[in-house]
């Protein structure tokens, strides 16, 4: 498993990382989200060793990775790039060999991967002759060709069409099932919510929320019920059927917030007494909502300050 502890990094006067700590567990897909400039790319580069941190440490299975260990990592950088004039297959074989794979195994792995990504008939073409979508597939292949022990992907889904997204998701899933820890960054939060086991939200160079996706959506908030009762007058204005249920509070149209000691069954009983219940479910905030909650406060405060300044 990969651990980053208290990473610090500054570029001149700009603080890129400010004590960032992050775990990526074996066999789990971890989404890495945060606004632009929050420190995602810097973190990934430090993990891969292409960038040195000012302070803090990275450990792999409990020890700081050396060059040989890092050669067993797979990386897809945000800045996409391959040798434009080199043939697709030659390129993959070359990269696999740089990662320490023997010649024959490198050729076999390249062929297998090209097959899996549907690029077999383009194997002899120069990379620059491929469409952007196919180039991105080759880029993914470059990260996978040496069967890495850890996968780090910076914005792997950006620029992909829905089919490309499906192919990439399936490939990443396979790697996770193989037991490989996968860390990828993305701005597509629905995708992260759908694919990832864990998520880490980064802001201003530090992690502001991290953990299992479901748990994170539930954590630190009252349970929320969505209840739709046909023919109940009180459901809309809060004056009707919910009165007297301890710990339950109408917080919006069709939404009921429950305190820890409130009994959802009691709410259901009252609802059924009031009319026909057509919908009754727990709701969790989406990752996007969660993201806005943990990342936006400063912006909101700034917005309020602005509003106050405008008010007479």
């Amino acid at each position: 498993m990969l651990q980053c502890r208290d990473l610090h990094l500054r570029y001149g006067s700009v603080v890129a990382l400010d004590g960032l700590s992050l775990d990526v567990a074996k066999g789990r897909m971890t989404g890495f989200v945060g606004p632009n400039g929050a420190g995602k790319t810097s973190t990934m580069r430090i993990v891969l060793g292409v960038l040195g941190a000012d302070a803090g440490e990275v450990s792999w299975n409990g020890v700081p990775p050396d060059a040989a260990t890092r050669r067993r990592f797979g990386y897809m950088p945000e800045e996409r790039g391959l040798y434009p004039k080199m043939r697709v297959r030659d390129q993959l074989v070359f990269l696999a060999r740089l990662h320490g794979i023997e010649a024959a195994a490198a050729r076999a792995a390249s062929d297998e991967l090209l097959e899996r990504l549907g690029l077999t008939d383009r194997a002899g073409d120069a990379v620059e002759a491929l469409s952007l979508g196919n180039q991105q597939r080759v880029q993914l292949a470059a990260a996978l060709v040496h069967r890495p022990d850890l996968l780090v992907l910076d914005e792997p889904f950006s620029g992909l069409d829905p089919i490309g997204v499906d192919v990439l998701s399936a490939v990443l899933r396979e790697e996770v099932e193989r037991g490989v820890p996968v860390l990828f960054s993305s701005h597509q939060l629905e995708l992260v919510e759908r694919l990832c086991d864990d998520v880490a939200i980064v802001k201003d160079g530090r992690i502001v929320a991290a953990g299992e996706v479901e748990e994170l959506r539930r954590r630190g908030r009252r349970r929320l019920l969505r209840v739709v009762v046909e023919g109940a007058a009180g459901a809309h204005d809060g004056s009707g059927w919910l009165d007297g249920v301890v710990g339950a509070e109408q917080v919006g149209r069709e939404l009921v917030a429950l305190a820890d000691d409130a009994d959802p069954q009691l709410v259901l009983d009252r609802a059924r007494a009031a009319g026909d219940v057509t919908h009754f479910s727990f709701v969790l905030p989406s990752l996007s909502e969660l993201f806005r909650e943990v990342v936006a406060p400063v912006d909101e405060a700034a917005g309020e300050a602005r509003r106050e300044a405008v008010a007479p």
Binding site: V50, Y75, E79, L95
Partner: protein, 389 residues
């Protein structure tokens, strides 16, 4: 195979496979052959002169003229012609270099002065003298001695080695070849080093290889290809020159040839390392020219110092230049070929050159490590070195 050698191999294979490079190489070789063919046609067998002899009075010129050829460093042939008209025709159409008519007149196409006409005049004096002595009744044995006396005994107080000219020529050629190779292929090294940054593949590669290994592999790989290209060019040029009889190959001893080649390789590596620093400093090919400019100046200065020092190998400038690493690859072999340099001096200078080349690669790698991921405008040397971590 270690990462370094994988990088070296990739450079060689991809460069050899590049269509642009194959075409450039073919054009270059074709140009050389064309130039040599033109030289061969224009030179028109310049080593053999043909003199036409017309009329009875000219026949006596035949033997002495042929004998005079050796002092002209040329072969002189004579051809007997029926009459004056034939002689004029021959000179006009270029089949004759000169014609002697009736032992009284010399006809040439353009220039009336020159070694050949001077030789004809000298033969004329010789013949006149013989006739006068014969008429005066000098016996044939004395006549022979008067006209063809034994050569004077020669003694040089400070004799030049027999191959001095050859060695001087070789020194010039060695200096010029290295100079041309550096100016031609130095930029190839610099732009090759920028390649990974310009195509942004750098991050993928650096996640598997240390910057130092990548840079070493690139410099060596591009260097090997450049030297091979250069060697092919020279080989084709020499083969064509010999086949077309444009020039004679100098007879060079194996030792001298080995030394020149060793210095060429060392010098090329040194400059390849230097140009790789220019490549390490920038992230886009467009910025390369401004960084490489000063390097071209260094190359030209080293060349000029060496070139003007060849004739005076023991001057202070020549001696200093043969030890300063940037000029040593040109100046030291030149000094060694022309003058008298102890072996230890050559060895010391060679070691200094290699050590400097190595230091340049290390410096270049340090800069490269610091700048590799700053994909933007070029940064200063100091900041590049400060950024390495």
């Amino acid at each position: 195979m270690s990462p370094r050698w994988l990088v070296v191999r990739r450079e060689i294979v991809e460069r050899a496979r590049s269509r642009a490079m194959q075409i450039a190489m073919a054009v270059q070789l074709a140009l050389i052959v064309i130039v040599l063919v033109i030289a061969a046609i224009a030179g028109g067998g310049g080593d053999t002169r043909t003199v036409g002899l017309a009329g009875a009075g000219s026949q006596a010129y035949a033997q002495p003229l042929r004998a005079a050829g050796s002092s002209l460093d040329e072969t002189v042939r004579t051809r007997e012609l029926p009459d004056r008209a034939a002689a004029l025709r021959g000179v006009r159409d270029g089949s004759l270099d000169a014609a002697v008519i009736d032992g009284r007149e010399v006809v040439v196409k353009e220039e009336t002065t020159g070694p050949l006409t001077a030789a004809i005049q000298s033969v004329r004096r010789q013949l006149a003298l013989r006739d006068a002595l014969e008429r005066a009744g000098v016996p044939p044995s004395q006549l022979r001695q008067a006209l063809d006396p034994p050569s004077l005994r020669m003694r040089a107080l400070d004799p030049e080695p027999a191959d001095a000219d050859t060695r001087h020529g070789l020194a010039m050629v060695a200096v010029i070849l290295l100079y041309v190779a550096i100016l031609t292929y130095g930029m190839a090294v610099a732009s090759g080093v920028v390649e990974e940054k310009a195509s942004r593949v750098i991050e993928v590669v650096l996640s598997a290889v240390r910057p130092r290994d990548l840079l070493f592999g690139k410099v060596v790989g591009i260097g090997v290809v450049a030297i091979a290209q250069f060697a092919a060019t020279i080989a084709v040029g020499l083969a064509a020159a010999v086949a077309l009889d444009v020039t004679d190959l100098p007879s060079v001893t194996g030792g001298a040839a080995l030394l020149v080649v060793a210095w060429f390789v060392a010098g090329f590596l040194l400059y390849a390392a230097l140009y790789s620093i220019a490549g390490a400093l920038v992230s886009r090919s467009e910025d390369l020219q401004s960084v490489a400019g000063p390097l071209n100046v260094i190359t030209v200065v080293a060349y000029l110092i060496t070139f003007f020092g060849i004739d005076d190998p023991d001057s202070t400038v020549s001696v200093v230049a043969s030890f300063v690493p940037l000029s040593a690859p040109m100046a030291m072999p030149a000094r060694w070929l022309v003058g008298d340099v102890p072996a230890w001096e050559v060895a010391l200078s060679f070691a200094l050159t290699l050590a400097t080349a190595f230091a340049f690669v290390r410096l270049s790698a340090a800069i490269y490590a610091g700048t590799a991921l700053r994909l933007g405008p070029r940064i200063s040397l100091r900041r590049a070195l400060a950024a390495r971590g």
